[in-house]
């Protein structure tokens, strides 16, 4: 990869007026909700302390979480690489199945949807923003608002073309069209795939935040529920996991999200003769794939380890002056924005990350925005330094 590719990508983004308008609208709306974040700043500093305790013990905690999940009747896996995560999920799904997916950056990272489709499955993203991205064949442009760059007119046109939906340009109409299309998929789905915002090592409880109820449906209706999450999502206790969940929603711009889902085991009943059977109204099987893919190594890196504190709340992206112009064109193939550059370095191509690092202003507004005060400029500068020292060493 060459720097000229990065600079022309960024130049292309700068010329995209639709993107700029979409970004400006979302950023303005987020700034109006910033008080929800500020109200939670004290809780946020406690989450930072929890992370400082958890990250150095990442391996041990992931193992403990896996044991707790298995004690509860689920099956847990620790996937060392993206490839291994794909393989495990692929074997669990098989082929010829209908899969409904909730939004999860980690599944993007391991390219799960593409993999399951290659195996001959029908896979649907069920978060509206992500559904739009899937139909567009594009990539998520923000952690919590993946379709931040698409206007309603474009969505309407897309739905008419791809879903044969008879819709006008009104947003409620568009949401209804998506609901109707996906409702039938939920009911027929064999497998539901979701991510996780936090996992408690002590109890095995898995927390997921959402507004649309698609995570509820995807994790409750199908026979099989697969959770894919980065190992850094593991906290010592259920209380700490909850604190992270609350801080994530607050800094994402919500006083509370519509739903917080907590799953600890497959659906079960003991109502007949006190004999426990799995698969009452919900899934009979729960599989949890904890993904390493560079995170263990990063947890031992004196500078980059701080990136593992990231809750993926998206606050820094809303507040970044470069992101305001480039949106998700900047950062790397999967992860976007300044924190995306660092996550690209950890889980993707270090070379790509290093080249993207030069677009950072090192202005530090992301530190101010971040619940955990993660020092992105420090890590980004470090990537530049490492790039130069590895070039010298050659």
């Amino acid at each position: 990869m060459k720097f000229s590719e990065v600079s022309s990508l960024l130049a292309k983004a700068s010329r995209d007026r639709v993107l700029r308008t979409g970004l400006a609208r979302s950023i303005k709306s987020y700034m109006g909700k910033r008080r929800f974040a500020e109200e939670a700043s004290e809780l946020a500093s406690r989450v930072r302390e929890a992370k400082e305790e958890a990250i150095p013990r990442l391996k041990e905690l992931a193992k403990q979480a896996a044991d707790s999940i298995e004690d509860n009747g689920g099956v847990a896996y620790i996937a060392r690489t993206a490839e291994e995560a794909r393989r495990i999920a692929g074997e669990l799904v098989g082929s010829g199945k209908l899969v409904v997916k909730a939004k999860s950056m980690t599944t993007e990272e391991v390219e799960l949807r593409e993999h399951l489709e290659r195996l001959g499955n029908e896979v649907w993203e069920t978060d509206l923003g992500e559904f739009i991205i899937q139909l567009l064949g594009s990539k998520p442009m923000h952690f919590t608002s993946p379709a931040i760059h698409v206007t309603r007119e474009e969505v309407a046109e897309l739905f008419r073309r791809k879903l044969n939906a008879k819709v006008g340009d009104s947003i409620p109409e568009l949401a209804k069209a998506a609901r109707e299309f996906l409702r039938e998929k939920f009911l027929r789905a064999d497998v539901g795939v979701t991510g996780a915002n936090a996992i408690a090592a002590d109890s095995g409880m898995i927390f997921t935040l959402e507004n649309e109820a698609n995570v509820r449906l995807a994790s409750a209706l199908p026979e099989k529920h697969i959770v894919v999450a980065g190992v850094e999502k593991v906290y010592r206790t259920s209380i700490e996991a909850w604190m992270a969940v609350e801080v994530t929603m607050r800094y994402a711009g919500y006083k509370s999200t519509s739903y917080v889902n907590v799953v600890a085991s497959p659906s079960k009943t003991g109502d007949i003769e006190k004999t426990v059977v799995y698969g009452a109204h919900g899934p009979r099987e729960l599989h949890v794939i904890l993904v390493d893919n560079g995170r263990y190594k990063a947890s031992e890196d004196p500078v980059l380890k701080e990136a593992l504190y990231c809750l993926r709340c998206g606050a820094c992206q809303y507040m970044c002056p470069v992101f305001k112009i480039t949106g998700g064109y900047w950062g790397g193939k999967v992860y976007v924005g300044g924190i995306g550059v660092i996550w690209t370095a950890i889980t993707g191509s270090i070379e790509e990350a290093m080249l993207h690092s030069y677009a950072c202003l090192l202005c530090g507004r992301c530190i101010e925005a971040c619940p955990l005060k993660i020092d992105q400029p420090k890590m980004i500068r470090e990537l530049r330094r490492r790039r130069l020292s590895s070039l010298k060493a050659r």
Binding site: A11, K324, Y358, R365, R387, S389
Partner: protein, 304 residues
């Protein structure tokens, strides 16, 4: 933009002339004729940006043009400014007077100010990951400043103050106390000879507000100078960057960032900045909105 050519150019310039633009005999010009003693308790140090500002402004404009035309980039990269362009830069408005304004204000407060020479502080090398170069520069600067016998360095801009205070101790042996001049004026209760009037929009510099935590002090200073301070949409710790830090590497993007910030600042036709990088990055874009951009030191010069 050819990144490796740019980095190489900066390195060559640094080794040849001690600054990333490769200019000789420019840094320290601002202090000509000031007649400050070589020794004292406080030593003033510009870190180079006030003398370089006029050249940075011009070269980033040229880089922007070159990038948009996709031609002749190598010829225009840092340090290859042609002599006619250098002359053009020398004629335009710069920030040397702003730096002198600071000295006058400090003297008015009775600060025992020395001048031991000037240099580029090296902060861009650090930001780009050129650590060896940064360390060499830090050593040279420290040696020069030590010759003044001062215990306190007074820095003029937030990047230099930050580099000296936070970064030098990580690279070299360094025991001097570092003050940004605004901090010092605040502590000493500066009061100007002439009071101005009218209102100005303050653009907090990122390094001033977030890294040095100097938020109230510049507001206090502007008010003592007789201005009403207007707060733009994003100010104080949440201030928006001027785009300047990436003007060499990604000039087009840098200008877009500046343009977005200029719109936020358009509350009054007078904008005050606290840093030569902000000044050079915002002047052009703010000019398009008919805003006048002044550097804080320029107001001190007027108020002295």
């Amino acid at each position: 933009m050819d990144l490796s050519a740019l980095l190489k150019g900066i390195e060559e310039n640094a080794r040849r002339s001690g600054n990333p633009l490769g200019l000789k005999g420019v840094i320290g010009r601002w202090a000509k004729g000031l007649d400050l003693p070589g020794k004292g308790r406080y030593v003033i140090y510009s870190g180079g940006l006030y003398d370089l500002a006029r050249y940075i402004k011009l070269s980033s404009r040229l880089l922007g043009v070159a990038e948009s035309l996709k031609v002749g980039k190598a010829a225009l990269r840092a340090g290859r400014l042609g002599s006619s362009l250098l002359k053009a830069a020398a004629r335009g408005r710069g920030l040397e007077a702003a730096a002198r304004g600071v000295v006058r204000a400090l003297q008015k407060c009775g600060v025992d100010l020395a001048y031991a020479g000037d240099s580029y502080c090296g902060v861009l090398y650090y930001d780009l990951g050129l650590d060896e170069l940064f360390e060499e520069q830090a050593k040279a600067t420290a040696r020069m400043l030590a010759s003044s016998g001062a215990s306190v360095v007074v820095a003029l801009d937030p990047h230099t103050a930050y580099a000296l205070r936070e970064l030098y101790p990580k690279f070299i042996e360094w025991s001097m106390e570092v003050k940004h001049y605004v901090e010092l004026l605040y502590e000493l209760g500066y009061s100007p000879g002439v009071k101005a009037g009218g209102s100005v929009v303050l653009h907090d510099a990122c390094y001033m507000a977030r890294f040095l935590k100097l938020v109230e002090e510049p507001r206090w200073l502007l008010e003592s100078l007789g201005y009403e301070v207007l707060e733009p949409e994003c100010s104080r710790e949440l201030t928006g960057c001027c785009g300047g830090p990436i003007e060499a590497v990604l000039p087009g993007l840098s200008r877009e960032v500046a343009a977005e910030r200029a719109v936020e600042l358009a509350l009054s036709d007078s904008v005050v900045v606290e840093c030569p990088i902000c000044w050079s990055a915002l002047s052009e874009q703010a000019g398009k909105l008919k805003l006048k951009v002044a550097e804080l030191g320029e107001l001190l010069e007027a108020g002295a």
